[in-house]
Symmetry: C2
Subunit: 159 residues, 2 copies
DNA sequence: CTAAACGTGGATAATGATTATCCATATTGT
DNA sequence: ACAATATGGATAATCATTATCCACGTTTAG
């Protein structure tokens, strides 16, 4: 049981896009080379973020991706759902049914507990947004490195 | 990201063992046929539960498994850890480091949030024990089926 | 109007984790 | 001694995740 690395990659990709000025756009290749993952898989991730309405995409030459919502509106939970889907962490395999020879196939002793645990987990992920992460960047990393990153984004962006 | 089915199987295996009288023991094969999983894999699961000190095992003819703790002492969380291990749901892939060219490889914007979410999730799983599940059995399943299960256990147990 | 740069979508392969099987060994009861 | 059982290791099968490739549509530049 482990969270997909795609969630982390997506969060940082979105973070990168927060440095774009209004209406500018960043090509997928630039994003993936900056973050260092596989370029083709990154396109798939970005695609999911577009489907989830977190990013907007512009096709064609001078195309790329930009935020569709403000950093304040994008919760970490939204990114998680965009990549992992809405399926819950736990789902009964029907073993309780087998053990007791029950007629009702959906009875499960654990489901209530697991749902409660998961929603407790989710509530934390709903509390923080991309905006809160950008605030923490300054505390966690030297200004120098951050400025270098911003410079790269401004250099590579289009429009 | 999905919980292993082994966790659910283990919980129900333990539940089954709560029906054993003191000092009696149930062979692994009986457990797996009653729950309907793969027998050999079930042995592996039971093994992990023994290592985690939740079950005691008796080798040899007339051997098998029994609880090593009372149902009140076995938290769902303990079963989870026994099967899935102590590794956390999230672990940074170091992508933040790559993105910003940092020297310190362990900086990650998400780790605090994820740890908080996970510990919130765990706290729910620590609240309920096998004993609380046995209490709920009576509400969720007809007495008839439960009695049949208990009869089977008494028939198949040894010692 | 053509070419180049980009995103889209589908098919499919590579990788890795989980589940399952097999076998040799040790231990206990009859 | 033999049968039944747990143990532990090696390994295979299965499945989800990650990665690659290619054909296609759209936009911009020349």
């Amino acid at each position: 049981m482990h969270m997909k690395t795609g969630v982390e990659q997506s969060v940082y990709a979105i973070l990168l896009l927060t440095f774009l000025p209004e209406k500018a756009v960043l090509p997928g290749d630039v994003i993936s080379t900056q973050l260092g993952g596989s370029p083709t898989y990154f396109q798939k991730l970005l695609r999911k973020l577009v489907s989830a309405d977190l990013l907007a995409s512009v096709p064609g030459s001078k195309g790329g991706f930009r935020l569709k919502k403000t950093p304040e509106e994008i919760r970490i939970y939204d990114v998680y759902v965009a990549i992992e889907g809405k399926q819950s962490l736990y789902s009964s395999s029907g073993i309780f049914h087998d053990m007791l020879n029950l007629k009702d196939k959906d009875i499960c002793l654990l489901s209530d507990l697991m749902e409660e645990a998961e929603s407790s987990w989710q509530s934390i992920l709903k509390r923080q947004t991309i905006a809160t992460l950008t605030n923490e960047i300054n505390k966690k990393c030297p200004k120098e490195n951050l400025d270098m990153l911003k410079a790269t984004v401004e250099e590579k962006m289009v429009l």
